[in-house]
């Protein structure tokens, strides 16, 4: 069982932070670029004075030289709201070893949430599962981390969830641009998932996709005769995995490629979250990548 907040992961994530790589629309001043103009340090432009403007922002030098009344404007930084979208369908229960995909995903969600709240940005938690989704309202209070953890710990994955449709529903009620962190194995309807992500991108959201997969699903290493009983009511089949490994890997790699391609086409970050790889490595590597990208 993987702890929700692994100290190693948390320390790496917190130190790297999650910087919005696109313009986000926060609700308070923060560290991220906002589409709005404000009054801060960095000069942006002049505009004509109108009645009611604060005379403190009047550019006296311009008035002295040109005899025109101009107001100085500056860039405004804001915070962002990260929508954490966690797939809680039954397929996420699978785990060939000690680590189940859902546990890995929960820990990933918790660590990301901790890193975001730690940099005074906001998160909103959305867990999609049967019988119904779990929502936690937007918060930028680091003290709410406890609630995030308790909510993650409380739910158990199960049933079938149309993750793509759920994403669209969340996107519809989110007016301001932010970051969507989607954590799923994407074993559901690929088409609706693709549409959901495109919808997010169309709305100007930044989307980060964590594709959570088990090592057994990636390499299919089983031997002998195995009876596979499908999760999410997909029936059962008995076969010799060794004999069909090549065929299976072809099909599965094609699936992964499809997911990655439509993420890339939508200008989303696609991160393979192999549950066989320690979470600290997976998350640390991604955050480091973002930081390097932001620096460029």
């Amino acid at each position: 069982m993987i702890p929700l907040l692994d100290p190693d992961t948390v320390s790496r994530a917190d130190s790297l932070g999650l910087i919005a790589r696109m313009i986000v629309e926060g609700y308070k001043v923060g560290d991220h670029r906002s589409p709005k103009r404000g009054f801060a340090i960095e000069f942006a432009q002049h505009r004509e004075y109108t009645t009611g403007d604060d005379l403190r922002h009047l550019d006296w030098k311009v008035l002295g030289r040109t005899d025109r009344y101009c107001i100085k404007q500056y860039e405004q930084d804001t915070n962002f709201v990260a929508q954490l979208m966690l797939d809680g369908s039954e397929s996420m229960v699978f785990g060939s070893d000690k680590v189940r995909k859902i546990d890995y995903a929960k820990a990933l969600t918790a660590c990301v949430a901790h890193a975001i709240l730690g940099q005074r940005d906001a998160i909103a938690l959305n867990i999609f599962t049967n019988p119904g989704p779990v929502h936690m309202a937007r918060t930028d209070n680091p003290g709410k981390m406890t609630e995030v953890l308790s909510r993650l710990a409380a739910f158990e994955a199960g049933g079938e969830a149309n993750f793509g449709t759920a994403i669209e529903q969340v996107a519809a009620r989110t007016s301001s641009r932010g970051i969507f962190v989607i954590i799923s194995d994407f074993f559901g309807d690929e088409e609706s998932l693709r549409q959901g992500i495109e919808r997010l991108r169309f709305s100007g959201h930044e989307v980060v996709v964590f594709h959570v997969l088990d090592p057994a699903e990636i390499s299919f290493p089983m031997k002998g005769t195995v009876r596979f009983e499908g999760l999410e009511n997909l029936g059962a089949v008995q076969t010799s995995p060794a004999e069909i490994r090549k065929s299976y890997l072809e099909v599965f790699d094609a699936f992964r490629t499809r997911v990655r391609h439509f993420c890339e086409r939508a200008n989303c970050h696609y991160v393979l979250a192999d549950t066989g790889v320690p979470l600290a490595e997976t998350l640390g590597a991604y955050l480091a990548f973002r930081r390097r990208a932001a620096a460029r």
């Binding site: 397929s91 699978f94 005769t225 195995v226 009876r227 596979f228 009983e229 004999e243 099909v251």
Partner: protein
């Protein structure tokens, strides 16, 4: 295909091992929950059929591999043409062909004998160059038709074609012994004995001796060719018996035909007919139903219009074995038999004696009726009789004459008997008074030498007659209790009869009736065409009470008919017994002709020889059952006739156990069935050492390689 180690074939059960392992593997299944099911289902669906086919192919290959290994260890040997190609060396074979009556069994298409002939011919046709073959026909007695292996195979095939069934049962052992003896002469390559038989019980009755013969000759291979299916349905005429009395021309003559249904199903509508000398049937009876295993006697009355030898044939409609649906009996019809009874002058005090009881038994009629009776009885004293021409009489009875010197000489009597006369001698008080009872000159005439009269031991009031086990045809009916028992016959005195030794080529004396201690009471022998019979006692009070017994008249009548007509013995022979008959002296050197069963005309069969002042003809080709007639010219009336009768149970179709045959011939060789032809080539033990195990091992190795390669290929992930 045959196997030298057939016990190993039980290992074929191991063919199930790959299947068992396959099933066990299938049953050792790990169960796993799986999330990426839609991808798995897609590729399983894509590969399922291919994988099943691969599994099936591997399974078949593995089963085949195990089967081939087991077959190889069972040391197979090919009996087909392929084997002939492997070994084309010459073979020395003796063919033993069963010719018993059962080989006549017809399955609706062909008789078993014909099947055997075809198989033997195919065998010879497929034999390699340089092969030699001989042929022995197995019947009750073996007949070495081609006694030693001959390279002239067309001749052997011709002899095979000429083979015919005989009327008896067969015994394979003597024929096989002859075959083995023939093969032991010289250094025969690949010696083999091929036996073609329908496997009746009688044929293999000496299976133990055959097995011993095989063990004593390990270099010779015995190959069994079973012919025909083991069917049992057959109805036959098992016996013909006279009802009593002598056949006299113009007088009705009754015979009893016994029919038996040997099968397991009842037979309906059997028409029984009787005809004489191949003429139209004189008598006919219909048996509505003859149950399974049932025996039925049918009384048929016929009449012969001419004197002389005749052949009676009783027939039923032909069934599976046509040969036993007809049975023949030869007899001699007399114009009016003349009997001369020689006795001393009767005194008032002497009372009735042998001549009286004999005359009463032969002609139980009043003095007035005797004039019209078919038998003429003349009673004379020795002196009167001595002056009569003895040849005029068919039977001369000597009732203890006192003065033998007044009679004909022993030589005249012997010549009389040889020419066909019959002599019956009753010794009595006069013989008892003489020492010896009869002169030495009579020793060659009488069938036994009488000793001094003897009385029973003190603890025994009288000598008793035998009550069972009657072997002579005259007394045979008394084997059935319904005929009455002779237990009440008491004999107070008797002449002990010591059977005379037969001449070199003569027939030994035969006991007609015996005492309970085995001593002969009535003994006869055949001399030439006639018979001499000697009784152990006279029919007198103080000697015996036989003449008072109810069976006395019947016994005398049957004896008289048998003696005069010949149907009791010498005219009715078992198969291959040979027939001899005296012929006129003037015919010596001339040919005689025989019309055998199935022939339309008489064919030259031999030459009449001279023998002791008379002619003699001898005919030995009597294997086939039926009537035979002998004449001096093809178209002249027969001078003799006889019939060959098969054994009563020749029609019984009982078969030997296959295991017994297999054990007798070869413990490890399964008995071939049907019409499978086993080629001669490649059957020897030397050839078996080159059996097919090596090619099979090679094939198995190739299969193993193929299986390994395929298993490796198939196990690679798809």
């Amino acid at each position: 295909m045959t196997f030298l180690a057939p016990i190993v074939l039980t290992g074929l059960a191991a063919v199930g091992l790959p299947i068992l392992i396959h099933l066990l593997n299938k049953s050792q299944v790990k169960v796993m929950k799986w999330a990426a099911m839609k991808f798995l289902l897609e590729c399983v669906r894509k590969n399922e059929r291919k994988m099943q086919l691969e599994d099936l192919l591997l399974l078949i290959l593995r089963c085949l591999l195990v089967a081939l290994l087991v077959l190889a260890f069972a040391l197979p040997a090919l009996k087909g043409l392929g084997k002939a190609l492997l070994n084309t060396g010459p073979v020395t074979a003796m063919l033993v062909l069963d010719r018993s009556a059962s080989m006549e069994y017809n399955n609706g298409q062909e008789a078993r004998l014909d099947q055997a002939k075809s198989e033997a011919n195919r065998l010879l046709d497929s034999s390699p160059g340089g092969t030699k073959a001989g042929l022995i026909l197995a019947g009750a007695m073996p007949d070495a038709v081609v006694p030693s292996p001959s390279g002239d195979l067309p001749l052997v095939k011709r002899r095979i074609q000429l083979a015919e069934t005989d009327a008896g049962k067969s015994d394979l052992y003597p024929a096989m012994k002859l075959a083995v003896d023939a093969l032991q002469q010289g250094n025969a390559p690949q010696p083999q004995v091929h036996i073609f038989t329908d496997d009746t019980v009688s044929a293999w009755a000496r299976a133990d001796e055959i097995a011993k013969l095989r063990l004593e000759n390990p270099d010779i291979e015995f190959i069994h060719h079973a012919v025909g299916a083991r069917e049992t349905d057959n109805t036959s005429i098992t016996a013909l018996q006279t009802e009593g009395g002598s056949p006299v021309t113009g007088e009705p003559f009754s015979i009893v035909a016994t029919l038996k249904n040997w099968g397991t199903e009842p037979v309906t509508g059997i028409r029984v007919t009787a005809s004489v000398d191949r003429d139209a049937p004189q008598a006919e009876e219909l048996i509505a139903t003859l149950g399974a295993g049932e025996e039925r006697k049918v009384l048929l009355t016929i009449k012969s219009e001419t004197a002389g030898f005749h052949a009676l044939e009783v027939k039923t409609p032909a069934d599976r074995i046509p040969g036993d649906n007809a049975r023949a009996m030869a007899f001699r019809a007399l114009e009016r038999p003349k009997v001369l009874i020689v006795r001393d002058e009767r005194t008032q005090a002497s009372g009735p004696s042998s001549e009286f009881f004999l005359a009463q038994a032969l002609q139980p009629l009043s003095r007035e009726q005797r004039a019209r009776a078919p038998i003429t009885i003349t009673e004379k004293t020795p002196r009167e009789a001595g002056s009569l021409p003895i040849d005029e009489f068919d039977l001369v009875v000597l009732c203890d004459p006192r003065d033998l010197s007044a009679l004909w000489s022993a030589e005249i009597l012997a010549a009389y008997v040889k020419q066909g006369g019959n002599l019956l001698v009753f010794p009595g008080e006069n013989a008892a008074a003489r020492t010896p009872p009869f002169p030495d000159a009579w020793n060659t005439l009488l069938p036994a030498l009488p000793g001094r009269p003897e009385t029973p031991p003190k603890d025994q009031p009288a000598f008793g007659l035998q009550t069972t086990g009657f072997l002579h045809p005259v007394l045979a009916p008394w084997n059935e209790p319904s005929m009455g028992s002779l237990a009440l016959v008491r004999t107070a005195r008797r002449f002990p009869l010591r059977a005379a030794k037969a001449a070199k080529d003569g027939i030994p004396p035969q006991t007609i009736l015996a005492f309970s201690d085995g001593q002969p009471a009535l003994i006869e022998w055949k001399v030439g065409n006639g018979r001499a019979t000697l009784a152990a006692f006279p029919l007198e009070r103080g000697w015996t009470n036989l003449y008072l017994h109810p069976s006395f008249v019947a016994i005398i009548q049957r004896w008289f008919a048998a003696m005069l007509s010949g149907h009791g013995g010498e005219l009715n022979l078992p198969p291959r017994a040979g027939f001899g008959h005296a012929a006129p002296l003037d015919a010596v050197g001339k040919a005689f002709f025989v019309r055998a069963p199935g022939q339309d005309e008489a064919r030259k069969a031999g030459q009449i020889e001279g023998r002791e002042n008379s002619g003699w003809l001898q005919f030995r080709e009597t294997a086939k059952a039926g009537p035979y007639s002998i004449s001096l010219e093809p178209t002249t009336p027969p001078i003799a006739a006889f019939a060959v009768q098969g054994p009563a149970d020749a029609g019984e179709l009982r078969y030997a156990e296959p295991d017994a045959i297999t054990t007798a011939l070869k413990a490890d060789a399964p008995t071939p069935t049907g019409s499978e032809v086993v080629p001669m080539a490649g059957r020897s033990k030397a050839a078996y050492s080159m059996e097919l195990w090596f090619p099979i091992i090679v094939i198995a190795t190739l299969l193993l390689c193929l299986e390994t390669a395929l298993a490796h290929r198939f196990s690679q992930s798809k």
